[in-house]
Subunit: 279 residues, 2 copies
């Protein structure tokens, strides 16, 4: 690496270079001049929440997000109680890490249940318990809509408009939304919904990945490196900026091709692509 | 087969049992008491358009749809002229078959082009030429929105609302919309958009498949047999009925598992599943 500063708003989501340990991640970002990281609960807990917080803050890195809480849609009370308990722990972890936002993925449909409306209602119900808990820790929650292809098994919240409908049941400083280009690029309502999010002070995080086809089996690990797909990433970032967003722009790509390469080379490429396609 | 009549509105889309030749299809539907079929251009042209028309009408079968025209989104004039020419042929084929509707799939983004709005505009432009041509043959066009996961490579029209926005540029008797449960089930605006379609006399076809996960590589061949997934198929059919739809309900499933089985057994299962989950 050259040691040159990476673009000021670029944040690296840890999952983009999952082959890196947390010390690798911190060293790699420091060397590349990347000033912020998005973290995931599993590796953070593996390394230790306190240890991670110390490592990251010691390096002067901002934690732009913690992924992820959520999965609120269990139809049975026991399942929802378990989800609430797990999410309370996630809030505590986000607080200890000083994360800008705890990303929430709503969860899919329970087995044998086709009631999307009911599942979405349960998300609001659980947030009614979780939001005050998060307030007590000074943690902001961010509802992330996922692409409609994940509506049955991961996230019944499929558009930014739906995420806003839910977030707006709560105070803006407590519950915002997460806008990820990969999930939202196809939606003709996106620009209006981003304006709505900005006007209400709800835009808690912006994430980027490109859309590439063909989708792999299971669809989850098919996100594209910036510039490899069809998404107008600069336009997406500009819409967020025009809506008043001033925070980190987090690159979150799940792709085995990136995981198989040298992490520093991947980060160098991310920085180059960000300059070319986003900045 | 028992020879008992299948449900009166059930139509079998030919691709559901693609292992059948056209004579197999006609014989199989006749034996099962299925009164309508949806046809595809490629096998029809392979057998002969006139020969297919004679075979189908001779058996007293209704042709609920011809799949498919479309792919209008080429950015270059030559590409669009070629698409228009091919679609004019599709209109003639639909007329010869007496199909209720010629299904149109808009097409995806040209390579290296991320402009969804522009691509959607070109769909309207080509329809401006195609709709009068179709009128001359007495053929109705039906714009089919595909799931947003196909927005880049197959169809820039992703919701029933978008399909209606386009269709409403033309007379209702000439350009309608096709509502397929597989593509639309996740959309919270679906019930309102179906009402809008019905009120405007735009609902040209209703198709059914279930949503199952995990998606296979490429996503195209992952549609589920009725009842194998999470879609409220009866609710979908009831919404269409409540909007005033009285036409055939076409079962269109692309799944290699169905193609590997005996066609008559698959049709028997389709009829049973239709009775249990749709009627």
């Amino acid at each position: 690496m050259t040691g040159a500063k990476a673009p000021a708003r670029l944040s690296l989501n840890q999952e983009t270079i999952r082959q890196w340990s947390l010390p690798d991640l911190v060293a790699g970002c420091t060397a590349a001049g990347v000033g912020a990281v998005g973290l995931w609960r599993e590796p953070v807990r593996g390394f230790g929440v306190r240890e991670t917080a110390k490592l990251v803050s010691g390096a002067g890195l901002r934690v732009s997000s913690l992924c992820r809480g959520g999965f609120f849609t269990a139809a049975d009370p026991a399942g929802r109680a378990a989800a609430l308990q797990d999410n309370r722990r996630a809030v505590e972890e986000a607080a200890e890490l000083g994360a800008d936002v705890l990303v929430l993925v709503a969860g899919g449909l329970p087995a044998g249940d086709g009631d999307l409306v009911g599942a979405r209602r349960r998300v609001v119900d659980v947030l009614g318990d979780l939001a005050p808990w998060a307030a007590g820790f000074g943690v902001r929650l961010g509802i992330e809509p996922l692409h409609p292809m994940f509506a049955s098994d991961r996230c019944v919240v499929s558009t930014l408009g739906q995420a806003l409908d839910i977030a707006e049941e709560f105070p803006a400083e407590r519950v915002g939304v997460v806008a990820d280009s990969y999930h939202l690029w196809w939606d003709e309502r996106l620009s209006g919904d981003l304006r709505r999010a900005g006007a209400g002070g709800r835009l808690a995080s912006v994430q980027l990945a490109d859309w590439v086809t063909p989708l792999p089996e299971g669809a989850l690990l098919g996100r594209g490196q910036l510039g490899d797909g069809c998404v107008d990433l600069r336009g997406f970032r500009q819409l967020a900026d025009a809506a008043g967003y001033r925070g980190p722009v987090e690159v979150e790509i799940f792709h085995p091709g990136l995981w198989a390469r040298d992490g520093s080379e991947v980060l160098k490429e991310v920085v180059e692509r960000y300059r070319r396609h986003v900045e």
